[in-house]
């Protein structure tokens, strides 16, 4: 179980914190969605959880009791993996780009087990047809899949996705979301994810966290989504209807 407690973050020269006392809880295999406007601090929150940016001293990010923020970077990488918004790969081939995710296990030279893990991942995610091609030659959807495979090679318990469907077409978008859902379910990995498309978020997530002005204003399951919440967080008028037990948002006129 993931427990984030009292996480605050402030940039060096600024008096005002960007994040103030964030608390988040996620069960194993649960998908949590972080929602909020641009600049509300979603990426900053992710980076603080990952230890890329340093959170306030009294913050804790616990996974099954262990405090991830007090771990070495290497040990942390075996527990949390990150798929950032703008993915880069350098110029390696697909196989090596995924193998890279295992560096915290092998250090200098990949062993047989590492190669086997990657081979299995490539088979699971059906990447065989371009396994030895350079990642730079691939399409956006394929690259996204490889980024996910690289994150999975870390054998994490928690996966953090920053806008995973940002520049994908609808087919790839669905593919990535379904893949992520399957992973959370099959491998019992918790997922924390930010999404801009609210309808997508409603169908993807188990838990929702609404971020505004550095606070989590609302959180809860699907039941906590309603027109007032969306209006307050995003400053727009919307209508939410339910079709086949699925909440769908319509419209969006600025207040």
């Amino acid at each position: 179980m993931l427990q984030i407690q009292n996480l605050s973050f402030r940039y060096h020269h600024h008096a005002q914190p960007v994040l103030k006392g964030i608390d988040i809880e996620l069960q194993d295999g649960e998908i949590g969605i972080l929602l909020g406007k641009n600049g509300s601090g979603k990426t900053t929150l992710f980076k603080s959880i990952l230890g890329i940016s340093s959170a306030s001293k009294d913050a804790s990010v616990r996974f099954d009791g262990e405090d991830l923020l007090k771990m070495s970077r290497k040990e942390r990488a075996k527990r949390i993996a990150y798929v950032p918004q703008d993915i880069q790969f350098g110029g390696l081939n697909v196989f090596d780009s995924i193998l890279m995710g295992r560096i915290s296990y092998f250090g200098c030279k990949a062993g047989r087990h590492d190669l086997e893990v990657v081979e299995q991942l490539i088979k699971d995610m059906q990447l065989e047809s371009y396994a030895t091609r350079s990642v730079n030659e691939l399409s956006g959807g394929e690259r996204q899949k490889i980024a996910i495979a690289r994150a999975l090679a870390q054998e994490p318990r928690l996966l953090i996705f920053d806008e995973p469907t940002g520049n994908l077409d609808i087919a790839n978008e669905q593919l990535i979301i379904r893949e992520a859902k399957r992973l959370a379910h099959d491998k019992n990995i918790s997922i924390l994810c930010s999404l801009h498309d609210l309808n997508q978020a409603f169908c993807f997530g188990d838990k929702f966290f609404f971020l505004k002005d550095g606070h989590i204003r609302y959180h809860g399951g699907k039941e906590c989504i309603n027109e007032e919440v969306i209006q307050e967080i995003f400053d727009i008028h919307v209508r939410i209807v339910e079709i086949e037990h699925q909440k769908i948002m319509i419209g969006g006129t600025p207040i």
């Binding site: 890329i52 942390r76 880069q88 350098g90 390696l92 780009s97 560096i103 081979e119 065989e128």
Partner: protein, 353 residues
């Protein structure tokens, strides 16, 4: 299993290219050994190599050509490696061994030694007659080394305490480099004609200054760097994916940057201090290698080193056969030779990142 097979095949292919490059380098060093201004025949050279035949020839081979060839191999490898690591760690394709202003500092140090203390004046060892009688052949090199190390520590210390983002490091390096250059200009303004010409001649890269001792010192620096870079090759690959990803995968990005820049700069400092400025090897060779083998540092580190040796051997062989008795400055030849090739390479195919 099929997948792993094809993956391994791919790497084997690249290893073969590296081995071919290495063979070319060995071949070139033999050629380099046999070519020179003293018009020795192949059989003279072979005899001298086995310490037989005319004593002068033996001296030429063992005291001049072998240290020179070794210097070309070691310094070429060092400068090229240093360039590759600079480019990777600073995430900048224009980075070179002297991005941190190391060469400028070395030039200032040597100028100071030559112009103010008249040290190392006779050490420009192109010609055999004053080969042995240099006042102190190491003086200029030593002072150059002291200054370039100071420069490295200054800049890395500053960046470490302030900001360690690649662009800041590059800009700070350029700025500090220009300070050294300005100081050099002022020194040269007050120099005597003799001092000035000696200082200028020092800054021409010249492999003829190499002795077994300088080779050994360079070998230690380059060897240690090589070993470190080799062990870190996976980490450099990860660094190419950008800082956030690299950190989330478990790399201490700042620590890796610091150590890499330090080692790369020390290699440059040692080579430049002993041999003078040898430009462009550190930019051309890593790029040629990347075109040939891609970005994987498990291959490019070896290949860059070999490519650097190869280019410097080639340049040195040409400089000695073109100079009509005395060798042309090898630093100029590497650029003359490399730059057009490099330009052709850049425009041959747009590089994608």
């Amino acid at each position: 299993m099929e997948l792993l097979e094809s993956y391994r095949r791919e790497h084997k292919r690249k290893r073969i290219i590296v081995i071919l490059l290495f063979s070319a380098m060995v071949l070139m060093s033999i050629v380099c050994l046999f070519v020179g201004s003293s018009h020795m025949s192949v059989s003279d050279c072979t005899a001298a190599l086995m310490r037989k035949g005319v004593p002068t020839n033996i001296r030429i081979i063992w005291n001049i050509r072998i240290p020179r060839v070794l210097a070309a191999i070691i310094a070429g490898a060092g400068l090229s490696l240093s360039g590759l690591i600079m480019q990777t760690t600073l995430n900048n394709i224009m980075a070179s061994p002297s991005t941190l202003g190391v060469s400028n500092a070395a030039v200032f140090g040597a100028n100071l030694s030559i112009i103010v203390f008249a040290g190392g004046f006779l050490s420009t060892g192109n010609n055999l007659s004053n080969y042995m009688i240099g006042v102190n052949p190491y003086a200029a090199g030593m002072v150059a080394f002291v200054f370039s190390t100071t420069s490295i520590l200054l800049i890395l210390g500053l960046c470490k305490t302030r900001s360690f983002t690649p662009n800041v490091v590059v800009l700070a390096g350029v700025a500090l480099g220009s300070v050294w250059t300005a100081a050099t200009t002022i020194l040269q303004f007050y120099a005597t004609d003799v001092g000035l010409s000696a200082a200028v001649i020092w800054s021409f890269g010249d492999l003829g200054r190499a002795t077994y001792r300088t080779d050994a010192i360079m070998f230690v620096a380059v060897g240690l760097g090589y070993l470190f870079f080799m062990l870190m090759s996976w980490k450099y690959n990860v660094l190419l994916t950008g800082e956030p990803t690299a950190k989330s995968i478990g790399i201490h990005v700042d620590r890796l940057r610091f150590l890499s820049l330090l080692l790369a700069s020390v290699i440059t400092a040692v080579c430049v201090s002993f041999l003078g400025i040898i430009g462009f090897v550190g930019i051309i060779c890593p790029h040629v290698t990347k075109k040939l083998l891609g970005q994987d540092h498990r291959h490019t580190i070896h290949a860059s080193a070999i490519c650097g040796s190869l280019l410097l051997l080639l340049a040195d062989t040409l400089s000695r056969s073109m100079g009509n008795g005395s060798a042309l400055p090898v630093g100029a030849i590497t650029s003359l030779l490399g730059a057009p090739f490099f330009i052709a390479l850049i425009f041959s195919k747009e590089e994608r990142r």
